[in-house]
């Protein structure tokens, strides 16, 4: 698959559709799996890794899901292309930065991705736009079933599916939703919310997963335990808390409009103004401002921008995407100039709609 083709499209999870998509950006499930006859990745020799990669690649290609997937040899990609896949959430940062033979199989919708030789031999991921954990679970379960027919996953009768890190053992499942919570951030309630999530053993992370900072008011909520409960129970555990968070965020948004409408309108308009006129702008600032504009659109304070456009800009203004779109490698300064130009062009003319998504 040609990364260039991906540059022209956006992933399904960015469509900005699906239930509750004003707050829930995407729903994601991943499964950690290992083949039984090789050491785990961190203990595998270079030759082991190459054999694992070939084995899984061949078996997946020969499985019932194989024909819907395109394979990318991540080990042979340029840094910028690996970064590109990270920004698109098709591979993890760890996978991009790892060494040795590794790859990823992706479906055309960019809903399913199978990482080979990440922390575990196989990490299956499935992602949908909006709140659709059940739909995601159904899809990933089917993919996992097909692959298990041809790959002997390491399994222990008592501990379940065996993983390189005991924190993933059992189901190997990580269920997560990415939420946009600007009003909870502005009203300073976000820490309180997170503390209560930790109490019910849910983890909170930034946009790009483990160790990443929450940028632009985007947060990932996920389960922390993987053993002792069924996959369905764990999907429910995360699913149950989402409506509560949605309700908090909605109430905070209503509060902002009711009590501080002028202030909020001012903040949102300024953010929009900067995005439309800046001459140089960092990725972080862009994300922060896009987050505010996104909220403004949802509160009806900005009328001429589509949510799908903002979602798409969140990804396309990231460093690797920007460089792929422009077709040249740029240093940070030039990227900031180019990013500002891209944003100006985007918001000019059709006021956001014309230069948008294909």
């Amino acid at each position: 698959m040609k990364l260039e083709a991906l540059t022209q499209s956006i992933g399904e999870w960015l469509r900005g559709t699906g239930p509750e998509s004003d707050i829930v950006m995407s729903s994601r499930v991943r499964l950690a799996r290992n083949v039984a006859h090789y050491p785990f990745v961190s203990r595998a020799s270079e030759q082991d890794r190459a054999e694992i990669e070939r084995f899984l690649r061949d078996r997946i290609a020969g499985s019932a899901v194989g024909q819907d997937l395109e394979y990318i040899d991540v080990g042979r990609l340029e840094d910028i292309d690996r970064q590109f896949l990270v920004e698109r959430q098709l591979i993890s940062r760890e996978h991009a930065e790892a060494q040795g033979a590794r790859g990823v199989a992706i479906d055309r919708m960019e809903q399913v991705s199978l990482m080979i030789n990440e922390e575990d031999h196989l990490r299956i991921q499935c992602m949908h736009s909006g709140l659709d954990l059940k739909g995601v679970w159904e899809q990933i379960r089917a993919v996992d079933d097909q692959i298990e027919k041809v790959v002997p996953y390491a399994f222990h009768p008592r501990f379940g599916y065996l993983t390189a890190c005991p924190t993933n053992v059992g189901t190997g499942i990580r269920v997560s939703v990415m939420l946009h919570l600007p009003a909870l951030v502005i009203t300073r309630q976000i820490d309180k919310v997170f503390r209560s999530l930790h109490k019910i053993s849910l983890a909170v992370r930034g946009l790009y997963g483990e160790g990443s900072q929450a940028m632009g008011d985007f947060y990932q909520i996920s389960n922390q335990t993987t053993l002792g409960r069924t996959e369905e129970e764990l999907v429910e555990q995360v699913g149950d808390v989402v409506p509560v968070l949605i309700d908090y965020e909605r109430r905070a948004r209503e509060f902002l409009v009711r009590e501080t409408q002028q202030n909020v309108h001012d903040q949102v308009s300024r953010a929009y103004g900067i995005l439309r006129t800046a001459q140089t702008i960092s990725a972080e600032e862009t994300m922060q401002l896009l987050s505010r504009v996104r909220m403004g659109v949802l509160l009806g304070l900005i009328g001429d921008v589509k949510i799908a456009d903002i979602n798409s800009l969140l990804v396309r203004t990231q460093p690797a995407h920007l460089q792929k779109l422009r077709g040249v490698e740029l240093d940070t300064n030039d990227r900031n100039i180019e990013r500002a130009r891209y944003l100006r062009q985007h918001f000019e003319g059709g006021e956001g709609s014309r230069a948008s998504v294909n």
């Binding site: 290992n34 039984a36 006859h37 090789y38 050491p39 785990f40 961190s42 203990r43 078996r59 020969g62 499985s63 019932a64 922390e119 379960r141 097909q146 298990e148 027919k149 041809v150 002997p152 996953y153 390491a154 399994f155 222990h156 009768p157 008592r158 501990f159 379940g160 599916y161 065996l162 390189a164 890190c165 005991p166 924190t167 053992v169 059992g170 189901t171 499942i173 335990t225 993987t226 053993l227 002792g228 409960r229 069924t230 996959e231």
Partner: protein
């Protein structure tokens, strides 16, 4: 520095980092050897005076959950997996296991850790169905090839080609059962 048990120079230093607390062991060669060769039961009793004066159990026992003493841990750290060769010490340092067999080899040690992380030790989720192919649910048999591959390599290094061939044949038998037959070809049409 002197050995904690005699006047000799300590040449064996162990630092335990757990739950934010640091614990150190300094031993001479003789005492170190004694520790490492002792049976676990013997280590326990030998450790009793050592443990005195240290905060007991809980806080220091860290992720392992049970009240292991430094000596028990030192002993445990030396234990290695018969398939991939990782020592428990390496696992504790890296936080990553070496191969699926570690869950069998270190089952007793991992259990409290797993209970601590997940609040449970029994998988209740989905399970593979291999009975149609006449294969066990657990994959221990297949994981054994990791050890056999290592033994084959060693035999080759010693130019014991007869032995190497035996290992290779043993690997083939297992791999044929698990990868070649029903399990592997099913659904790949």
């Amino acid at each position: 520095m002197k050995c904690q048990h005699c006047e000799k120079q300590a040449v064996f230093h162990i630092t335990e980092l757990e739950a934010g607390a640091v614990r150190e062991l300094h031993l001479c060669e003789d005492h170190a050897r004694t520790y490492l060769n002792q049976s676990e039961a013997a280590a326990e009793s030998a450790a009793e005076d050592e443990a005195e004066g240290e905060p007991a159990g809980g806080a220091l026992s860290g992720p392992l959950g049970v009240g292991q003493t430094a000596e028990e841990l030192a002993l445990l750290d030396q234990r290695s997996c018969s398939m991939c060769g990782i020592t428990f010490f390496e696992f504790r340092n890296q936080g990553r296991l070496g191969c699926p067999h570690d869950y069998v080899q270190f089952e007793k040690e991992l259990e409290p850790l797993i209970a601590n992380i997940h609040g449970a030790t029994e998988h209740t989720g989905r399970r593979p169905s291999r009975s149609a192919a006449g294969l066990a649910e657990g994959t221990e048999e297949l994981t054994a090839v990791i050890g056999l591959r290592q033994q084959m390599k060693e035999s080759i290094a010693c130019e014991d080609y007869e032995k190497a061939k035996e290992h290779r044949d043993a690997i083939r038998v297992i791999e044929d059962r698990w990868l070649g037959g029903g399990n592997a070809t099913k659904g790949s049409a």
